[in-house]
């Protein structure tokens, strides 16, 4: 069976010149939650955008459940892989939570009843059923983030890509997010600087630096390697740093 996401010798540059990704090779199996970590500019967001076809013109082979990421397969890939933007304000563009969560299913041709069913199911998964008629501009950052995830869940993707999901969340909302992410059975790829979140939610982790994969392995093992992390501009997760008082 094909891996959910597979990159074979993928190289990419936004402009002709400096490569943002160099010869990237990895595969992510179905149902596995994988963290993408690395300093700013390491190529984390680019990988996520490449998987969903938001950036094109790469060299090598990138595939999602066996379908090569190219123009012909884009609709199919986007149905399978949902992308949660870093900034919830970019993700949410309709007036109310219901309208935004319903946008995807409605565009994919679901009937009115099916759309409503999917919306309610997605909102239930993120504990937001009661906020379905809430105006988006009246929502807090944490609520917006959960609504963003619901907009993707309503499309029933098999893969969920999250770009910095814990940014601007308070500890309570962050904890809630971790619980929700851990309760989602889909394959997840989480690009984040929040190594504690990665530790809590991901089985595997890819460490990137300068557009190259430095290490791909077990999250617990990788995130305990202080020297390796520090060599690439990262620090041990706070929970592994011990008491500093």
């Amino acid at each position: 069976m094909a891996a959910d996401i597979e990159f074979k010798n993928v190289t990419f540059s936004y402009d002709k010149g400096k490569n943002v990704l160099h010869d990237i090779c990895f595969s992510i199996e179905h149902g596995v939650s994988t963290g993408l970590i690395g300093a700013n500019g390491a190529g984390k967001s680019t990988i996520l955008k490449l998987v969903t076809g938001l950036v094109t013109g790469y060299q090598g082979t990138a595939s999602v459940q066996g379908s090569i990421v190219n123009k012909d397969n884009m609709a199919d890939i986007r149905r399978k892989a949902g992308y949660v933007f870093q900034d919830a304000d970019s993700q949410l563009f309709m007036s109310t939570v219901y309208e935004d969560v319903a946008f995807g299913p409605a565009n994919y041709g679901c009937t009115e009843e099916e759309t409503e069913q999917r919306v309610m199911e997605a909102l239930r998964k993120v504990n937001m059923e009661k906020l379905k008629d809430r105006q988006i501009y009246r929502m807090s950052g944490g609520e917006k983030k959960l609504a963003s995830i619901a907009t993707i869940l309503s499309m029933k993707p098999e893969i969920i890509l999250l770009d910095e999901p814990s940014v601007a969340l308070d500890p309570g909302n962050r904890k809630n997010l971790i619980q929700i992410l851990n309760g989602m059975p889909e394959t997840k790829v989480i690009a984040s600087h929040d190594l504690d979140l990665v530790l809590d939610t991901c089985e595997k982790t890819i460490l990137l630096a300068g557009g190259r994969i430095i290490k791909y392995g077990d999250t617990k093992e990788l995130l305990q390697d202080k020297e390796l992390l520090e060599a690439y501009g990262l620090l041990l997760p706070l929970c592994l740093q011990g008491s500093r008082i």
Partner: protein, 265 residues
Amino acid sequence: MNKARQAAKDIHISDNAGSGSSAKGGIHPLARLIVTFIYIILVVSFPSYDLAGLAGMFIYLLVNGIWYGISAKPVLKRAWPVFLVAILAGSAGLVTDREVYITYSGITITYGMLGMVTLVLKGMFCITASYILSVTASAAQICHALRLIHVPEEIIMVILLMHRYLIVLIKEVERMQQAYKLRAPGRKGIQFKNWGSFAGLLLLRSMDRAEEVYESMKLRGFHGSLKYPLLKSGKRASILYVFLWGIFLFIFRFFPVFQIAGSLL
């Protein structure tokens, strides 16, 4: 409140007043759009001096205003430019149309005055009816209604995308204004010398943001044609709504209801 923030809030309020998973009062947006359209056509079609007949059309605004809980203040706030234009347009009649209509207690009212007041009222009524529609149906709902009456998809798309882009633009203005104010305390507004860079940066930032929003739409199946979650609305109630208001408006337009009522008393 910051003007940009107020503008964004107004858009959201108008967006949200008609949104949700069910239509308010069970009336389909198309029914409201049709009635508003009929209303505007009939109001505009009143003769220049038929002030008494035109006054009857106020009942529609009054009933809907009460039904949807709309206060007069925001309407007047939005209608004043139309009010001014109507006064300017009607003021020509004050000079050219001096024929006396009535003299009461030494006060002479000319046809020109009557024409001006009628024109102002027509403008106000049309604006108010449009406002009521806009706060009882979101842009998406109105566009959905337009689609049902086979308005070309390209026009609907342009309306919707302009609506979305406007929100993005206003939010960026708000962010930049706040950042500016925090570093320029005590200054009123943005200094003239900074307008160029402010406008340029605003354009670039709003384009970036608009691109992200567009990407988000594409990732959720958007490919040139927007689908909207349909509203639960009562078909019978909507038909009845159009029928009753239609009859009411036609009667007030084509029959001198107040005069008939007055002669009966």
